[in-house]
Symmetry: C2
DNA sequence: AGCCAAACGCGAATGATATGCGTTTAACTA
DNA sequence: TAGTTAAACGCATATCATTCGCGTTTGGCT
């Protein structure tokens, strides 16, 4: 809804294209693909070449503004604003709807493995199954 | 270790190529890519075309024999035997070494979200950070 | 207003994965 | 054990997401 409340990242040139991409990501409450951004910005009256979109996304990822999500059941890579330091999704295996999972079950667990051979800096949890709409269509019979 | 103890999946034609691919996946204790399988089987004296490898992997995935893993930091899709119903990895952000995580922190959590809008059938957890070898190289900073 | 590195757009390249089609082979049968 | 046939294979080619080269445009600064 509000596209203005956010400060522009420091040291980042403010172009029409970058503003449109970030504005779209701000509205999106789910991770979206580069192609989604292409059509979404076009629908908002901003024609941006696909290569520019990819460049913006990669650049913003390096700047820490955007986060990449590579879900097992999605063809292409998805992007979202890096609002949270880690991400959890529930992905419907039928309609591929993505449902956000807010609290993090891993906090304690992370401490656990950190004591061993690994210093943990981030994590990514993907859960799949049937969303309310699709459940039942599958016959419930697994 | 043992490459023989496993039964051949029912209703699956037993070809030289399929045997080689599954044998390689059995030895691998980490998920591997189609290209890894290509070179691995070649090294074992089995020349298999890359398209056949992809066909075998897709087919075996449909049969439930093989599981796909799409890690955020790996270019290509990885495959492993579907020994476990869910998977957890710790991936080093420097050397990309993959460390297996055995116990599952999500069991209770899953019950939680299942009560809401989602019937859970599987999940996938990826943890990243620095493995023992690479930690320190990064300066410990950040 | 003018400069210039950084961004952009286009089109072409890349790399992983998939597919069409003619050839080979596993599994079944006589 | 040889014959039959649908399924699997190999090769070449296609596809699709993503990246890159290069000439043109533009935001931020003076």
């Amino acid at each position: 809804m509000k596209t203005s409340g956010r400060e522009w990242p420091a040291g980042v040139k403010k172009t029409r294209q970058r503003q449109a991409v970030l504005a779209l990501l701000e509205q999106a409450e789910k991770p979206i693909s580069a192609a989604d951004i292409f059509t979404g910005t076009a629908a908002a009256g901003q024609d941006i070449s696909l290569s520019t979109i990819y460049r913006i996304l990669n650049y913003m990822e390096k700047k820490g503004v955007v986060a990449k999500a590579k879900l097992a059941r999605s063809e292409s890579v998805l992007y979202e604003l890096n609002r949270f330091r880690h991400r959890h999704y529930a992905v419907c295996v039928i309609c591929h709807r993505i449902i956000s999972v807010n609290n993090c079950p891993l906090e304690n667990f992370i401490l656990n493995i950190a004591e061993n051979d690994f210093r943990v800096t981030g994590h990514n949890v993907e859960i799949y199954g049937y969303c309310r709409e699709c459940d039942g269509e599958a016959g419930g019979g697994r």
